[in-house]
């Protein structure tokens, strides 16, 4: 019996493990203490992060220089074809090159991000926490051409287990959204918007379910576990769009995502399946679409602060092939 642990300790160990499994299985839901849901506009953020990376075509070079932990300047050069919206089946591309200068100031309470291009277009984003629960966000795209400037301002209020947002934009755009936690895993929300200039108004509903299931496999001394995280979301809007997405985290490094969009007014369907590998030195995202489009995006860390980026998008239906490479410093 010398090698074995004393029987008393083992029984206690088993008991404790059983109690833990019981706790997880039958945790009493405290409906007055639900967690705060994620903002309405970020409902599908896991799916968007995995399935919609910033694909580009051409060469991209980004250099970010930090002067301060809060303040940094960025210089970005891009050379490549830009797509023009065309009526026919042909895609029109014209080669362009531009340099973009940007300044960021990031504070826990105030965030200011500004980017200006060589043709004078300014992109500005402001996020300010007015109080603990109320925050203001504004973003604007200003250009020298008349009638090409847009701006939008949002007021977000965070309650105990709900969030509301009020949105005001130029061209008399008005929107409001509300999302509420129903259970610790499920949250439901709705939004209403009115666009005066385009004479469009609409109502939308959304639901989000996320699960963080802990599967405990008890064996002798250790209790290893694998956590499965999956998120399912659904969104309906009166513009005729229904969007559903499902993301499953298969392991720490891999997650799979799928997305389904159906427009019942124009009978348009798009489904896509993608993967997201988050490795130590690289991040690889790939996607396959029902429109005959396959894309991949690789970010590889060559050195501290030096990232190499490769982007590829092959559209078999339109015979449009886009490949891009770039370097990000800092």
């Amino acid at each position: 019996m010398a090698g074995f642990p004393p029987p008393g300790a083992t029984i206690l160990g088993d008991d404790a493990a059983e109690k833990k499994i019981d706790e997880v299985g039958k945790k009493k839901v405290d409906y007055f203490n639900l967690p705060c849901p994620i903002p309405f506009e970020e409902l599908q953020r896991e799916a968007i992060m995995s399935l919609k990376p910033e694909l580009f075509e051409g060469m991209r070079f980004d250099f970010t220089k930090g002067l301060n932990p809060k303040f940094s300047l960025s210089h970005s050069v891009f050379m490549g074809p830009m797509e023009l919206p065309s009526q026919g089946a042909e895609t029109l591309k014209i080669p362009t090159a531009h340099y973009e200068f940007g300044a960021n100031f990031i504070d826990p309470k105030l965030m200011l991000i500004g980017r200006v291009l060589t043709d004078g277009r300014l992109t500005a984003r402001v996020k300010c926490d007015l109080t603990d629960d109320l925050s203001l966000k504004a973003n604007a795209q200003l250009s020298n051409e008349p009638n090409m400037s847009h701006g939008m301002i949002n007021f977000d209020y965070k309650g105990k287990d709900y969030r509301t947002q009020l949105q005001l934009g130029d061209g008399s755009l008005f929107g409001a959204s509300y999302i509420q936690s129903i259970t610790p895993h499920l949250s439901l929300g709705g939004e209403v918007f009115w666009a005066g200039q385009h004479l469009k108004s609409g109502v939308g509903y959304a639901a989000r379910y996320e699960n963080d299931k802990m599967v405990k496999l008890a064996c002798a001394m250790h209790v290893p576990f694998a956590s499965l995280l999956w998120v399912a979301t659904g969104q309906v809007a009166s513009t005729g769009m229904i969007a559903m997405s499902y993301v499953q985290k298969v392991s720490e490094k891999v997650s799979l995502a799928t997305d389904f969009m159906y427009n019942y007014l124009s009978r348009d369907v798009t489904a896509s399946v993608g993967y997201d590998y988050i490795l130590r030195q690289a991040r690889l995202r790939g996607k396959l679409d029902s429109n005959g489009c396959a894309s991949a995006f690789l970010e590889e860390r060559l050195n501290m602060g030096l990232n190499f980026v490769l982007s590829a998008e092959i559209d078999h239906k339109k015979s449009d092939y886009k490949f891009g490479f770039g370097l990000t410093v800092g």
Binding site: N68, K70, F71, A103, F105, L112, G114, L142, S149
Partner: protein, 72 residues
């Protein structure tokens, strides 16, 4: 003054039914808001990035001026 003259014809025709005094207050308000929106757009366009730079250069720890331009 130029902006005022250009905006008058369009709003003047619509408010023909109101009294003369009422018409001018609403008109003045509309013109003022359009003028201020335009001016604030120009100010934001030229002043936003300098504003970020000024706020950043005055935050702690204070960076040096040469760091703005040097690539190190």
């Amino acid at each position: 003054m130029a902006s005022r003259i250009s905006l008058k014809p369009s709003s003047g025709n619509n408010k023909g039914a109101n009294g003369a005094a009422e018409r001018s207050t609403v008109q003045v308000l509309k013109e003022w808001s359009a003028w201020s929106l335009e001016k604030s757009k120009v100010i934001a366009h030229y002043g936003f990035i300098p504003l970020i730079i000024v706020i950043g250069m005055n935050s702690e720890p204070k960076p040096q001026l040469y760091q703005l331009l040097s690539p190190i």
